[in-house]
Symmetry: C2
Subunit: 284 residues, 2 copies
């Protein structure tokens, strides 16, 4: 790690939402807490993979001996913001056995027949696991608000329900990391055009992407409201400028590692006498 | 890929079980089909990650447009053979959204109250997915045979049920790759001792590992029988010498890539006019 440029400030401090936060004032091209270049960032990302893998293994190992700690990373963003790439990079060094990844799509008819948290609660991470939500219960206060699929009173009820739900998760040992990846409307346009220029990416494109762009400002207002209403101590929000993909990746990596470090993970102590076991293996 | 040492022979040919196969004659230190060194192998593994990622994305993309192809990798092995490391390495470059990983542990009471395939069938890969079974329905004809938890007639019934089950999966679009990682009993001893020497690995050790070692020859006989009975055209077995971890990793990577190549995957053709969409995005 000698020559690698590290974060100047803890990413969680640089990116955590404070009082009077205004999404409109975030610069999506900025790199809060980090002064290095793209190359520096890519190097940092690669160098920290082993640390992240070790922390995750410790988390998993603890749970085999009764530990109840767990992580839940919630990722929200507009289309093309790079959620997929981030999930790939954060998960790559981890043991798949210790990761519960869930991408929430449009709800099925059965899911819609329950309260909005019904399908979410079933996917929360088990002890020792790193849970990753690619989209989440926040869609129910974002797209639902933008398109008035729910009344203002119902949206309000959902903010309260979300805070209670997340508070309960936190109380039972879950470290929650909520992330909004923030790209500009122009950056999204550039990324949509890049998809259209590459036949290998056509399958990711749909006309609906343009339709939703028309509601950009409404989405930003819905994010601002959701962040204001659900930025709790138990489950704080982080807004990550994401026009620079490399920055968004190291920022999420830092946040996940930071959350794990706060859990003060330790390798479980052997409950056996190592010398006795060694002798038994030797003669087996 | 200029300087990288590739496989001399398709891994699927080098490792596929033929008539009169004898597990006892496999050399667990050998590297069938590959003449390169460990360094060569590690380089090959890294170089092919992008190819593997592209194939997997194509598989997933096809399914978004009605494709029903899918992959199921079944991994079986004695403890410490390196299943975990292989899963990590094969999955790392893949999009988690396109992977269904399932580690089968000892069945719960509820699972035991059904036929042995009940819990397995629920975990088969959906269209476009790469399914990975870390242990599988084969435990029900391996450990059950070794410890006589089932009668010979019942074991026989299970072989038949497995063949029918796998044939049905194959008929509905699943390319099945069955792998046994083959280590020697001495190699396992060395790996168990290494675990005991490293406090960060103590959590992976249990006395039960030694108890099962006493049945090593019975396990090999059970593997031989299972392979003989279930090595079908629809779901062929591959035995991978695994004393050299680096070799086992490239071998599995080759098998998975080979299976994907056989699926003749193509990027879905755009169902829209690219120029029209580009103009719409430009003015959005």
């Amino acid at each position: 790690m000698a020559g690698v440029v590290k974060f100047e400030q803890h990413a969680s401090e640089a990116l955590r939402i404070g009082k009077g936060f205004s999404l409109a004032k975030v610069d999506p091209d900025s790199t809060p807490g980090y002064t290095g270049s793209k190359t520096d960032g890519q190097q940092l990302l690669a160098e920290l993979d082993d640390n992240l893998a070790e922390l995750q293994e410790k988390l998993f190992a603890e749970s085999r001996f009764g530990g109840t700690k767990r992580i839940l990373l919630v990722l929200q963003a507009m289309d093309t913001a790079g959620k997929g790439g981030i999930v790939n990079h954060v998960m790559a060094p981890m043991d798949p056995q210790g990761v519960q990844f869930k991408a929430f799509k449009a709800p099925t008819d059965e899911e819609k027949s329950y309260d909005f948290l019904w399908r979410i609660q079933k996917e929360v991470p088990a002890a020792g696991m790193v849970g990753i939500f690619d989209r989440s219960h926040y869609e129910d206060v974002l797209i639902h608000k933008v398109h008035s699929w729910a009344t203002p009173a119902e949206i309000k009820r959902r903010y309260v329900a979300i805070n209670e739900f997340e508070s309960r998760l936190s109380d039972s040992g879950t470290k929650i990391v909520k992330v909004m990846l923030y790209i500009s409307k122009d950056e999204q346009k550039a990324r949509l055009l890049a998809r259209l220029d590459n036949p290998a990416k056509h399958w990711k494109y749909s006309r609906g992407d343009i339709d939703e762009r028309a509601f950009w400002d409404d989405y930003m207002a819905a994010y601002q409201a959701a962040i204001d209403e659900t930025n709790t101590a138990a489950a704080p929000w982080h807004v990550i400028p994401a026009n620079k993909k490399w920055y968004a990746r190291i920022a999420v990596q830092q946040l996940v590692m930071g959350a794990m470090s706060e859990l003060k993970l330790e390798w479980p102590k052997a409950e056996f006498d190592v010398d006795i076991e060694r002798a038994l293996v030797e003669k087996s």
